[in-house]
């Protein structure tokens, strides 16, 4: 692997032009992500957290400010940034193996490609399902395939857009554990967008809380707990409550920020 690269977001603004005028989605977003860090971004739906991820992915253009990846502004999607969405977005006409191979970089020798694909099938625990079609697999297995597809090109950053949002609670917990294993094994930077507070605290080195419309980071919490984390420990619950309060209790009393 090449040397780790840092991601830097500076005073980012994103708005969409609508007939009724400009709609601000994100304002004044600043963030520096260290190589190998696991960042969780929590926010309510529609707060712009997915848009932020799409901007980092290069799928959309920033309105103001900039996103620097390895000192260069991001303009296009690239294999150095893998993305996994809430829907697996697997191609139904490809087998699991072919779907994962589709993520490979060009100009790989066939044997090399096969090896990489095989390694990643093993990594996400799908041995034996190589020849299956996506519709034959469960939602969790489909997401594993999508993760493998995003990883085969050996990206520097893995962007996860509510990847477990559509899974049942038990599968979700299992997948969280696995994404952690993958992160530790691959030494990759991960940015996870979620609305699940528990998931954000369980996974992230830092949890960024995003406010609503226009979205901006209103709070950053580091999670100083050693992994594997116990979801029922007092420290975990205290952190969880702190974030929970950001969204709920204070609205009732009318206050917004500290």
């Amino acid at each position: 692997m090449t040397k780790p690269m840092s991601l830097k977001i500076e005073n980012l603004t994103k708005h969409y032009s609508l007939p009724q005028g400009d709609l601000a989605v994100l304002t004044g977003v600043d963030l520096t992500v260290q190589p190998g860090e696991f960042i969780s971004i929590v926010g309510a739906s529609g707060c712009g957290k997915s848009t932020l991820l799409r901007l980092i992915g290069g799928l959309e253009q920033v309105s103001e400010g900039r996103i620097l990846f390895d000192e260069t502004p991001i303009q296009n999607p690239g294999l150095d940034r893998g993305i996994v969405f809430q829907e697996s977005r697997l191609f139904p006409w490809f087998t699991i193996e072919e779907n994962i191979a589709f993520g490979c970089r060009k100009n790989l020798v066939e044997s090399e490609k096969q090896q990489i694909v095989q390694d990643h099938i093993k990594l996400v625990g799908l041995l034996g399902f190589e020849k299956a079609y996506p519709h034959q697999l469960s939602g969790g297995m489909q997401q594993r395939t999508a993760i493998a597809r995003a990883l085969v090109s050996r990206p520097q950053i893995l962007l996860l857009d509510e990847p477990f949002g559509a899974l049942d609670a038990l599968t979700r917990i299992q997948m969280q554990q696995e994404i952690l294993n993958i992160w530790q094994k691959e030494k990759i930077t991960v940015i996870l967008v979620t609305h699940d507070i528990d998931e954000a605290v369980f996974l992230g080195d830092r949890v960024l809380v995003m406010s609503n419309r226009p979205g901006t980071f209103k709070k950053t919490l580091s999670v100083p707990l050693a992994r594997p984390r116990d979801r029922n420990s007092a420290a975990f619950l205290a952190l969880r409550k702190k974030i929970y309060d950001e969204f709920f209790s204070k609205k009732k009393t009318g206050g917004r920020s500290r």
Partner: protein
Amino acid sequence: MVSNPPPKPKHPFSFYLLPFILPILLITVWQLASNLDWLQSSILPSPLVIAQTLLDLLKSGELLKNIAVSLLRVLEGFAIGAGLGLIAGLIMGLSRSMERLLSLITGLLRPIPTIAWIPALILWMGIGESSKITVIAVGSFWPVLLSVIQGVRSTDPKYLEVARILEKDRVTLLTKVIIPSALPSIFTGLRIGMGIAWASVVGAELIAASSGIGFMIMYAREVSQPDVMLVGVAAIGLTGLLIDFLLLQLQRRLLKWNSVWGGES
């Protein structure tokens, strides 16, 4: 969320029998009516007479020869028409400006019934093979064109985005994403196109030909052989059914990934 491969239900024998009940009933009534002299044999011969004629025509090889002649014309015409429809459909489906450029001319030509071209084509190309093959090509071109455009257009933008993220070039995008995604729609167009091709060849042969199944029917009318005529008509139906069955098998094979189109339909 677990979706296992759809279980292949074992059908009872009656399931396979079901499609045959009505035809058998119809033929029985027909035969009875003939036996009772309710039907005039010079206008509608009895099923038994037709069956005897069928055997004779099979034995002499006349029927199969004529079907083979027509089938060859269909295959040639369909290959040209469907091929052009595929190419034009991809171009028009991928490029809005190309579609706009061609929209008026395709809009004008498309509603013209295939058989309306036959007199003009005979004038231009004579009564040889080329005019018949052209009629078939024209007939099969339109459904393929429309289904390809529709299929290409309806590619899920989410899939296109994945291809963008994975830095795929245009050729890969077309062959690995757009065409497979359009395949179910394309197949519908191919099946309709083949049906029209088979219908057009008979039409062309009825007007001008010296061989083929359409010619056989027309000639039988001229020499008042209603049984031969009806054998010819039945042969058209059976061959058409067989062709569609083969296309359906091909579709199931190619679309086995698709739980709707690859399964039974």
